[in-house]
Structures are given as structure tokens and as C-alpha cells.
Amino acid sequence: MRKMLCAFLYLAVNMVSAQVVDPDLLLVKARMDSIIGFEANLELKLDVEFINMPAKYAVMKYEKGKMIDFDSEDFVMIPRKGLDFTLGELLKYPVITVDRGMEVVNGVSCKMINVIPDDRRADFSIAALLIDTARNRVMQSEITTRKHGTYLMEFKYRSNKDPLPEQIIVNFEIEKIRIPLSYMGKEADVDKERMKAEGPKTGSIILNMSDYQIDYLQ
């Protein structure tokens, strides 16, 4: 009798834990897992009030199980969040998900899911994903990290069947630069009171991908 009870509890726990991850999220993950690698041209446009940077170009290469590799002749700034196409980083450790209902994003009805890590090693505290369940892809995500603030990402796709986005807009919080006076140039103005009052700024980086070459799992 005790063995039966233990077996029942084990099965019950396993069933519950198997159900905590939303099936639509798993479908998106499964679709992304079918991609074993891709290569694309990348254009990065930074939009931060106190930074002037021309558009930068790079070649982006991804192989399953490895970090995305960037190759560029320019100096490029790659956002820490926003390039987790395969959801590998988000679902690296066990998570639980909560269905938050439906929302419309850019005219597309999406399912909103909260993703909460169930492991201390995860680098985020909560994420909100808006998933286009008809096409099994993420339309928007907001990730609150433990150390680096909150990132809001919008994904735009060229066609209905494309698994990978052609544009990602990553919005983030950033503190204004504080430079020692000795490094300042001509007429560099320092208004400490104003800097304190302003607090963190928001910025965004627009990533435009083109000429995808995708390798799928056979």
C-alpha cells in the first residue's frame, strides 16, 4: 500500500511538473529546435539619446549549442538580450509558466505567457512572452533580468511562414555616462543636478536581419 502511494505521488508530481510549461511555448521551442544553424547579414541601429553611432553591419552565425558568433570589420555593440531566437537561454533551466490570456500585437492575436524561472541559476526573474499561436513564433517579449534591468523586445517577420524575424527592436534602460573631467573635450557640459534628476534613460537598438541561410534538422 505504501509503495502504491509513493508511486502515485511520484506520478502526480511528474504530471504536475510536466504541465507547468505552457504547451504553446513548447511548440515554439520545438519549432526553433528544428533549426540547427543559420547565417544572416545583420544591420544594427542604435537609438540612445547621448550616443551617436552610425549603422553598423555584421554577419551573424548560429550553430545549435553554441553562442551566436558575429563577424564584422566595424566595432559593433550586441545587445545582451534579444538574440535568443531559439529560446535556449530563456528555457536553459526549469521554468514554470502562467497563461495570462490573449492580447493583440500589430493586429495579430497573441497568447501572453509569464515565464518564471524555477532555478536560481537563471539570469532573469520573470519574462512575459506574447506568442502568435497560429504561426508558433514569439511576437514580443519582456525580460526582467536579475542584474541588467528590463528588456522589451519586438519581433517582426517578413512572411507568415518565416520562423526567424527580419527585425528585432530591443528597448532597454541605460544610465547616462559619467565621465571624469580629465577625459572631457571642448565645452563638455556637466550638470550634476540635472543628471541626478533625470535618472536612467531608455534606449533601443534595431536589428535588421537579411539573407538568412537556415539549416533545418533533417
Binding site: 552610425p54 566595432f75 550586441i78
Partner: protein
């Protein structure tokens, strides 16, 4: 007449040992500044990018030839005019000291033509030295540290692509040439007034230091900030704002040209009036 005097004065300048010692010293200082800038550059990049590290990964190296040339540019606008002023004013003070001026003035040479020839040599020599400094800084920096994007902080954090940075650095050297010519011409006018080498050097150095201090002083008077000659000597920095203010640069360089002409006219006038002995 002027051409003959110009050629003779240029020959005299190039025959003087101190001219070559000065050029050697400038190249040596540039080499020292270059390697000091390399170590300083890493520190500057760390400070500039500190806030961005939490949001971004970086690909590429910002400590490159373009950053080092920019750092050289920042440091050279004191020692370069100082050495130029010593060499240029020496063109006249040595003539007073050796009494060769009296010999020259016994010839059928007008005082105005003689001193104008010296001013022309001062301008040509200064332009030559700035070009030499620019070429050596580009060759040394690119040979050892390669090219790449340039990062500059002027109110905002500005990134320039390697090609754009090269153009801006060349334009900055060109704009800086106006300032160097101004100081060279001013030193020759000071030599006309004081005649004696030591006094001339002290006054010229004092003039340079005051000008460098006044560049950083903001009195809040538009006339002082926009038109006073000391405030025009960092016009080269305007090329490192993301959007170049061409009208301001044109205005500043035009004003510097006017000041250069005024100093030459003052020098010629005083030299004509002065007693040669």
C-alpha cells in the same frame, strides 16, 4: 625681392642646427605620446563604455590607430607651438644677437620686405612641420595599432567609422595648422618687440600658456567666447562633434586668418619703426 628674401631666409632656417634639433624633439615627443596614449587609451575606453557594458557585448577594438591619433592631437597643441615659437622667433633674435641684421640692412633691402620674408618663412615652415607631424602620427599609429572606429566624448558619446575618422582627423590637422601659424607669427612679432632671445622666449611661452588657459575659461560673454583669438585655437575639436558645424569652423578659421594678418602687420609696422642696433 620678397621671393629672394624668402628663399634666403628659408635656406638660413634650414641650415641652423636648432631647426633640426627641434624637428627631432617633436618626433621624439610624438613617439612618447603615442605609446603613453596607447596605455591611456585602454583606460579611457573602459571609462567611456562602462555604462554600456550592462546592456551590450562589444565586438571589435576601439584602442586603434585612430584613437591614438586623436589622443596625440589632444596633447600636441602645447608642445608643438612652444617649439615652433622658439625656432621661429630665433630666426630674428639670432640676427639681433649676431648683429647680422645690421649687415643685411646695409644692403638695398627694404625693412618691410625683409621682415615680410621672415613671416612667410615662418608660415611655410609651420605648415611643413604640421604636415610632418600629421604624416608621422598617421604612419606610426596605423603601422603599430591598425585602423578602426573612433570613439570621442564631446557632450555625447560619438562613434565614427574608420573612413569617417580618417577624414575628420585630416581636417582637424588642417584646422590646427591655422592655430600653429597664429602662434608662429605671434612669436615673430614678439621677437620684433623684444629683440633679445631669452626675453622673447619667456614672453612667447607666457603668451602660449595664457592662450591655453583662456581656451577653457568661459566668461559668458559671446564676444569673448566667439571672437577672442585665444578661444579660436581649439577649432579642430569641432570636427569631432557628430554633426560638423561647418559655418562655425569657417567663421573661426576666417577670424584666425584675420588675427594672423593683424599680427604680421603689427610686426612689420614695429620693425619698420624700431632701431636696428
Amino acid at each position: 625681392m620678397i621671393i629672394a628674401i624668402f628663399t634666403t631666409e628659408l635656406y638660413k632656417l634650414l641650415k641652423q642646427a636648432r631647426t633640426w634639433y627641434a624637428l627631432g624633439a617633436l618626433l621624439l615627443i610624438e613617439g612618447i605620446v603615442l605609446f603613453a596614449a596607447y596605455y591611456q587609451g585602454t583606460n579611457i575606453i573602459d571609462i567611456l563604455l562602462d555604462n554600456l557594458k550592462q546592456n551590450f557585448y562589444f565586438e571589435g577594438d576601439l584602442v586603434n590607430g585612430n584613437l591614438l591619433i586623436y589622443l596625440i592631437l589632444n596633447t600636441m597643441w602645447f608642445h608643438l607651438p612652444l617649439i615652433l615659437m622658439i625656432v621661429i622667433s630665433g630666426m630674428l633674435t639670432s640676427e639681433y644677437k649676431d648683429r647680422t641684421l645690421q649687415t643685411v640692412m646695409l644692403q638695398p633691402v627694404s625693412r618691410a620686405a625683409f621682415i615680410t620674408g621672415k613671416f612667410l618663412v615662418a608660415i611655410v615652415f609651420t605648415v611643413f612641420v604640421v604636415i610632418m607631424m600629421a604624416l608621422s602620427s598617421f604612419i606610426l599609429s596605423y603601422s603599430f595599432f591598425g585602423s578602426g572606429d573612433l570613439i570621442v566624448y564631446l557632450d555625447t558619446l560619438n562613434f565614427f567609422s574608420a573612413d569617417d575618422a580618417l577624414k575628420r582627423l585630416c581636417l582637424a590637422y588642417a584646422a590646427g595648422t591655422f592655430s600653429m601659424v597664429f602662434f608662429s607669427v605671434a612669436s615673430l612679432t614678439i621677437a620684433v618687440i623684444f629683440k633679445e632671445a631669452t626675453k622673447t622666449w619667456i614672453v612667447a611661452a607666457f603668451f602660449l600658456i595664457i592662450c591655453n588657459l583662456l581656451v577653457k575659461v568661459d566668461l559668458g560673454y559671446a564676444i569673448f567666447d566667439d571672437y577672442f583669438f585665444a578661444k579660436l585655437n581649439d577649432t579642430w575639436q569641432y570636427f569631432f562633434y557628430f554633426d560638423i558645424d561647418w559655418s562655425r569652423i569657417f567663421m573661426n578659421l576666417s577670424l584666425l586668418t584675420v588675427y594672423i594678418i593683424l599680427f604680421i602687420l603689427a610686426g612689420v609696422f614695429i620693425f619698420k619703426k624700431n632701431d636696428i642696433g
